[in-house]
C-alpha cells in the first residue's frame, strides 16, 4: 500500500567514498543507497522497501562526470545524471545506443534527477540505459572495504532487482569500452505512451566490415527477469552479410530465445510477436539502413 508519508529512516551523508563504504559496512544490510531517488523514493512511498538508513551521495566529490577518454572509453560517475549523456557530444557520436536510450528515457524532469548508475543498480529488466550498456559492454566499478573490484556488465545482474554488488559496496563508476571505427550501435524501445517504462527494449552493438558482421552484442529487456543477451541470435549473425533474409532468421531466433511474461505493460504473446520485429529494426538503425 502506498502512502503520502515517507517511512522513518536515518539519512547518512558521507563526505568521502571510504566513509560511505564504512557506513555501508557498519549498518550492513540496513542501508539503501540514494542516488537520484527516482526509484528509491518511490519505493519508500509505496513501502516496497523500508530501509533503516538512506545513504545519499551528495557529499561525495568527483562522481559527477561523464568522460570520454580516448583509447580507453567512456567513464560514467555514480552521480552522473541521465541528462548528462545527452549533453555530451562524445556519447552521441561514439555510443549512439546509450545516447538513444537517454533520449527516450522518461521526461526532462526525471532525466535531470535520475542517474545512469541508479538505472544499472536498480537491476530492472526494463532499464533503458542498462539495456544499451549491456549491448555496448562494460564494467561496473565497485568500492568495498577490501578496495575496488570490477564486475563485467554481463555478470552484473543476477536476478530480478538483484545485482552482484555486496551490501558493503558502493558502485562508483561505469566503464564502457572504446568503440572502433567499424563499431555501430543503436537502441529502440516500445512503450504504451512516451513517458513510460519499456514493454520491450533492445540494443545492439556490431562490428561491421563491408556489410559483414564481425562481432555483435544484442541485449533485450522485459523478456525475462533480467536484461538478457541474445547469444544464439548473435551467433547467427557473426561472419554473415546482413541481408533481409538473414534479418528474418534473426527475428525468428530472437522469438525463441526470450522468456517474456504477462504484466501490466504488455503480454507474453505480444512481446514474442514483436521481439523479432524490433530486433530487425534496431540492426537496420545501427547500420544506417533506414
Amino acid at each position: 500500500m502506498s502512502s503520502r508519508v515517507l517511512p522513518q529512516f536515518d539519512l547518512l551523508t558521507p563526505q568521502s567514498i571510504p566513509e560511505a563504504v564504512a557506513m555501508l559496512a557498519q549498518h550492513q544490510g540496513q542501508v539503501s543507497v540514494l542516488a537520484g531517488g527516482t526509484d528509491m523514493l518511490v519505493w519508500n512511498y509505496i513501502r516496497k522497501v523500508k530501509p533503516a538508513y538512506l545513504l545519499r551521495l551528495s557529499g561525495l566529490d568527483d562522481l559527477d562526470n561523464v568522460n570520454y577518454i580516448p583509447g580507453e572509453g567512456l567513464r560514467i560517475g555514480a552521480k552522473a545524471k541521465v541528462v548528462q549523456l545527452l549533453d555530451n557530444p562524445d556519447v552521441a557520436e561514439k555510443f549512439p545506443a546509450l545516447f538513444q536510450a537517454a533520449e527516450t528515457f522518461a521526461t526532462p524532469q526525471i532525466r535531470n534527477m535520475a542517474t545512469v548508475m541508479g538505472n544499472v543498480l536498480r537491476g530492472s529488466p526494463a532499464g533503458d540505459c542498462s539495456c544499451a550498456i549491456l549491448a555496448l559492454g562494460g564494467q561496473v566499478v565497485l568500492q568495498g572495504p577490501e578496495g575496488e573490484r570490477l564486475v563485467d556488465i554481463d555478470d552484473f545482474w543476477v536476478a530480478y532487482g538483484v545485482t552482484e554488488r555486496k551490501d558493503d559496496e558502493l558502485a562508483v563508476e561505469l566503464r564502457i569500452p572504446e568503440p572502433t571505427s567499424t563499431t555501430r550501435s543503436a537502441f529502440i524501445r516500445m512503450t504504451r505512451v512516451h513517458e513510460d517504462l519499456a514493454k520491450l527494449n533492445v540494443a545492439v552493438c556490431l562490428e561491421i566490415n563491408q556489410n559483414t558482421c564481425q562481432q555483435v552484442r544484442i541485449s533485450m529487456g522485459c523478456v525475462g527477469p533480467i536484461l538478457v543477451r541474445l547469444k544464439q541470435t548473435e551467433k547467427m549473425l557473426v561472419g554473415k552479410q546482413i541481408s533481409d533474409g538473414l534479418l528474418q532468421q534473426l527475428a525468428a531466433s530472437a522469438q525463441e530465445e526470450i522468456a517474456p511474461i504477462d504484466d501490466q505493460r504488455s503480454t507474453e504473446e505480444y512481446r514474442r510477436q514483436v521481439a523479432g520485429v524490433i530486433l530487425k529494426r534496431v540492426i537496420e538503425k545501427a547500420i544506417g539502413a533506414h
Binding site: 505512451v193 512516451h194 513517458e195 510477436q273
Partner: protein, 783 residues
C-alpha cells in the same frame, strides 16, 4: 452587439501565473492553528467482504492519536455522493429510483478502498502509524466485476431495494417499455436494406485531475461546521452535508479552495463526509484529510464502463430508418450516478441524428469495482465510440462518404434536441464538417488511403457530436450573482461558480467588463459561500453559459440603477439615457452628462448640506443582482477529424493529426476554447487508445496510479488544429455555446473510425492497444 473590448479576445487565464509559481492555495496547503490530521482507513485487501471484527484499541493507544472512529461512532445516516437529489424534484428522484446507499465508515466493504474507520492524530505520520495498527477480521464475499456476473440470479444482493443488483433502468412509469425514443423500431427495422449491429465495450477511465482530493473541516466554537473543499458544486454539497449530519444549512459553511482540475471528479461529495465526521468528533480543532493518488483512485468515482449494443437499419441510400440501442453500464459499488449517466448516454444519440425511429434502453448494475460517477462528457464519449463507429460501418458497406452522410442526417435548428422537448436553437455542424474536412484534406486522403501496402497504414476518420450548455431542462438550472459597485467604480462580483482551472473566472470577468464597460483589472470575483447566492456548480458545460448569463443580468441591473439615478439628477427620462465610456449621457443632449464614478461615489459618500438639506447625489451603494434561470441550453455541435498511422508489424497506433471544428456560437475567449478542445482530446485519445483502470480476479485494482495507468502526455499529442465556428446562437447571451464537456467526445469516434479506415477492421473494445490491434491483424491475416 457593439464592438467588444474583452469578449472575443484570447486573454490569458488570470490565475495562470499564481498557479505556475506555486502561490495558489489548495486545500492541502491550508494550515490552521491547532490543526489535527485525519486518516481514512480503507480496506486494501478485499473488494467485497464483511467486517467481522474491527479492533481499534492498539491504534487508539499510539501516542499522538486523539480519536479513533469506527462505523458506530459517526452518523448512521446513509448518503449518496451524487447530487441529483438536490437538482431534481423529489418525485422524479423517486421515479428514477435514486437511493442513498453509502456510509461514512462501513462494515460491508463493497469495493477495494471502501472506508472502514478513521483516525485523528497530531500529525499525518502518527495517523499513518496508527492506521497500521488497526486490526480487522474480514469474511470475504463473492466478487463481481461486470454486470454479467452481478446480475446472475444466485449472485449476492448488494441492496434489497435493487433486486438482481440492477441499480437502475429507465423507469416504466416515465418510459413505457423501459425505453425512450420515437417510432416503431421493430417495424422500421424490417424496412431496412442493411442492418449493422455490434456490441462495443468501454473501459473504466479516471478523471486524473491534477490535485488529489484533500479537505480541512472545522467544527468551530459557534457550532458551525466549516469545510474547506475544492468541490465543483459547493451550493449542492452544503445541503447534502446538512442532511447527512442533521444540521441546519445555516450551520454548514463551505469554503471553496483553488481547484486543481475537476473533470467531474469533484462533482457532488467526495471525502467531505468522512472529513466532516472527523471534525465533528473533535469540536474546536480543525482536521485535515489528504489522499494519495492511489487512494483517490480506488475510492473516488470514474467514468462508467460498460457494454454498448447498437443496431442500425438503413436504406440503400443511407436513410437511417431505425436505431435500436441498449447500453448496460457498470455502476461500481454504489449508486451515485447510476441513473444520470444511463439516462443521458442515450440522449447524446437521440439528439444527434434524424433516425426514422429509435429505441434506447439504458440500465446500470452494481459490481465490486470502485463507484462510477461523473466524468466530463457524462456518457457522451462512450456513446460516441459506439454510435460513430456503427454509422461508419453502414457508410462503408453502402459506399457512402461518412462526411456526406453526417451532413445529410444530423439534426439541426428546430429539431428536437438532446433532451426531447427543447428544439435546437442553432446548429453550425455543416460548417464544422466542411471546414474540418478541408483542413485535414479529407477527400484526397480518404481516396489515397483506400488501397495501401507496406508496414505503415494510414487512415482518416470523422466523428461528430452534440452536447449541452447547462443542465436545463433535465436538472434545476440556476445561478445567482451580485455585482457591487465600489465608490471608485471598481467592481466585486459575488457568486459561487467554481473555476476548475478551465478559466471560468477569467471569462466571467471578460463578460462583466464588457457589459459594464469597466476595465477587467478593476473587477474582482469573490467566491464566498456565505455571501454568494445559489448555483448548481461547475458542471454540465454551464459556467460560461449560465454563470455568464447571470453576470450579464446582474451587470444590466447595475446599469439600470445607474440610469435611474442619472435620470433623477439630470432630469432626463431614463429612455433617453445611455451609458458610454463610463458616462451616463442623454442621447438628445450631450451636455446632459454624469460620470458613472460620480454616481457611484456620491451613492457611498452621500453628504447632506446642513444649510440646504440637499445631498450631493442619490444615496446608496449600487449593487446589481440576478437570480438567473436560463431559458435554453443552446447546444454546441462539433466535427472532429483524426488521422492515424498504424504500424502493422507492431500494432502501434500513432495519431498524426486532429482537426476539431467546434460550433461555439461565439468564443468569449478563443484561447480558452482551444485549450478546452485540446485538453478534452487528450482525455479522448487516452480513452480510445491507452487508458483503462483494470482489476485482478479478486477485484483489486492493478493500476491505481500513473505508473501503469497511461494517459497521453504532451509528447504523445498529435498535430492539432482547432477551428472555432462562430455562428451566434440566437437565444444565448453573446451568442455563446459551451465547449468544456464537448472536448473529450468526438475525438473518440473520429480516431476509432480512422483506425478502421486504415485497416478495414472495427475495434469494438477500447482502449485499442497495440496488443489488440496486432491480434486483430493476425486474425484477419493483414499482418
Amino acid at each position: 452587439m457593439s464592438e467588444k473590448t474583452y469578449v472575443g479576445k484570447s486573454i490569458p487565464k488570470l490565475d495562470a501565473r499564481e498557479k505556475a509559481c506555486g502561490q495558489a492555495v489548495y486545500a492541502a496547503d491550508i494550515q490552521l492553528p491547532g490543526m489535527l490530521y485525519g486518516k481514512i482507513v480503507r480496506c486494501w485487501d478485499h473488494a467485497h467482504a464483511k467486517v467481522l471484527k474491527l479492533d481499534l484499541s492498539a491504534a487508539a493507544k499510539v501516542p499522538g492519536v486523539i480519536k479513533v472512529l469506527g462505523p458506530e461512532d459517526v452518523t448512521q445516516k446513509r448518503y449518496n455522493t451524487g447530487v441529483l437529489d438536490v437538482m431534481v424534484p423529489e418525485e422524479v428522484g423517486q421515479l428514477l429510483g435514486d437511493i442513498e446507499d453509502q456510509r461514512i465508515f462501513t462494515d460491508h466493504v463493497r469495493h477495494q478502498g471502501d472506508a472502514i474507520c478513521g483516525i485523528i492524530a497530531e500529525s499525518e505520520e502518527i495517523a499513518e502509524i496508527a492506521a497500521g495498527k488497526v486490526k480487522v477480521l474480514y469474511e470475504p464475499l463473492p466478487v463481481y466485476l461486470s454486470a454479467e456476473e452481478s446480475s446472475r440470479p444466485d449472485a449476492f444482493q448488494f441492496d434489497e431495494r435493487k433486486p438482481g443488483n440492477r441499480a437502475f433502468q429507465l423507469p416504466e412509469q416515465m418510459f413505457p417499455g423501459n425505453a425512450y425514443g420515437w417510432g416503431d423500431v421493430d417495424v422500421e427495422m424490417a424496412k431496412a436494406d442493411l442492418i449493422v449491429e455490434e456490441t462495443f465495450y468501454l473501459p473504466k477511465v479516471k478523471q486524473c485531475q491534477m490535485e488529489p482530493h484533500a479537505y480541512v473541516a472545522h467544527y468551530d466554537q459557534t457550532g458551525r461546521l466549516n469545510c474547506w473543499t475544492s468541490t465543483q458544486m459547493p451550493k449542492c454539497v452544503q445541503p447534502k452535508l446538512a442532511r447527512l449530519f442533521e444540521m441546519p444549512i445555516s450551520r454548514i459553511n463551505l469554503v471553496s479552495t483553488t481547484i486543481g482540475g475537476g473533470f467531474g471528479a469533484r462533482l457532488g461529495m467526495v471525502f467531505e463526509p468522512e472529513t466532516c465526521a472527523m471534525a465533528l468528533a473533535v469540536p474546536g480543532r480543525p482536521v485535515k484529510v489528504q489522499s494519495s493518488r492511489e487512494e483517490d483512485w480506488v475510492a473516488s468515482e470514474s467514468r462508467h464502463p460498460g457494454k454498448y449494443w447498437v443496431k442500425l437499419g438503413v436504406r440503400k441510400d443511407g436513410t437511417p430508418v431505425a436505431m435500436d440501442a441498449h447500453f448496460t453500464t457498470n455502476a461500481g459499488a454504489y449508486f451515485t450516478h447510476a441513473s444520470g449517466v444511463a439516462f443521458t448516454a442515450g440522449s447524446w444519440m437521440t439528439g444527434l441524428y434524424k433516425f426514422g425511429s429509435i429505441r434506447y434502453k439504458g440500465d446500470t448494475y452494481y459490481t465490486n469495482q470502485a463507484p462510477s460517477g461523473a466524468f466530463r462528457g457524462y456518457g457522451n464519449p462512450q456513446t460516441n465510440f459506439a454510435l460513430e463507429q456503427i454509422v461508419d460501418r453502414a457508410c462503408s458497406e453502402l459506399n457512402i462518404d461518412p462526411v456526406e452522410w453526417r451532413k445529410k442526417w444530423h439534426k439541426g435548428v428546430g429539431d428536437d434536441g438532446w433532451c426531447m422537448g427543447v428544439p435546437y436553437s442553432s446548429c453550425a455542424l455543416d460548417e464544422c464538417l466542411e471546414r474540418g474536412a478541408e483542413a485535414i484534406g479529407w477527400e484526397e486522403k480518404r481516396a489515397r488511403y483506400a488501397s495501401q501496402s507496406g508496414t505503415k497504414r494510414r487512415g482518416v476518420g470523422v466523428g461528430v457530436m452534440t452536447h449541452t450548455s447547462g443542465a436545463m431542462p433535465m436538472l434545476l438550472e440556476h445561478t445567482t450573482c451580485t455585482v457591487k459597485m465600489n465608490e471608485d467604480t471598481s467592481v466585486v462580483i459575488t457568486l459561487s461558480c467554481s473555476d476548475l482551472g478551465q478559466g471560468a473566472h477569467t471569462v466571467l470577468k471578460q463578460i462583466a467588463a464588457d457589459t459594464l464597460c469597466i476595465p477587467m483589472d478593476e473587477i474582482h470575483i469573490h467566491v464566498n459561500m456565505d455571501s454568494a447566492g445559489f448555483d448548481i456548480g461547475s458542471h454540465a458545460s454551464r459556467t460560461t453559459y449560465v454563470g455568464g448569463g447571470a453576470v450579464i443580468k446582474a451587470c444590466e441591473d447595475v446599469k439600470r440603477q445607474l440610469i435611474e439615478r442619472a435620470s433623477i439628477r439630470l432630469g432626463v427620462p431614463e429612455q433617453a439615457l445611455e451609458i458610454k465610456d463610463q458616462q451616463v449621457v442623454s442621447r438628445n443632449d450631450p451636455e446632459k452628462i454624469l460620470s458613472v464614478k460620480d454616481i457611484c461615489r456620491s451613492g457611498v459618500y452621500n453628504f447632506t448640506n446642513p444649510e440646504t438639506g440637499e445631498t450631493n447625489g442619490v444615496p446608496g451603494q449600487i449593487q446589481g443582482y440576478a437570480s438567473h434561470f436560463p431559458a435554453h441550453n443552446s447546444p454546441p455541435f462539433g466535427a472532429c477529424f483524426s488521422e492515424v498511422e498504424i504500424d502493422i508489424e507492431t500494432g502501434e497506433v500513432k495519431v498524426l493529426e486532429l482537426v476539431i471544428a467546434h460550433d461555439i456560437g461565439r468564443a468569449i475567449n478563443p484561447m480558452a476554447v482551444e485549450g478546452q478542445l485540446e485538453g478534452g482530446a487528450q482525455q479522448a485519445l487516452g480513452m480510445v487508445l491507452t487508458e483503462e483502470t483494470s482489476y485482478d480476479k479478486v477485484g483489486l485494482c492493478r493500476n491505481n496510479g500513473f505508473t501503469d495507468y497511461k494517459m497521453f502526455g504532451a509528447a504523445d499529442m498529435p498535430k492539432f488544429t482547432t477551428i472555432l465556428v462562430e455562428q451566434p446562437d440566437p437565444v444565448a447571451p453573446f451568442g455563446m455555446k459551451s465547449v468544456g464537456e464537448a472536448g473529450p467526445v468526438n475525438p473518440v469516434g473520429a480516431t476509432a473510425n480512422a483506425i478502421s479506415h486504415a485497416l478495414g477492421i472495427t475495434f469494438t473494445e477500447a482502449p485499442i492497444t497495440p496488443e489488440r490491434v496486432l491480434q486483430a491483424l493476425q486474425d484477419q491475416k493483414v499482418a
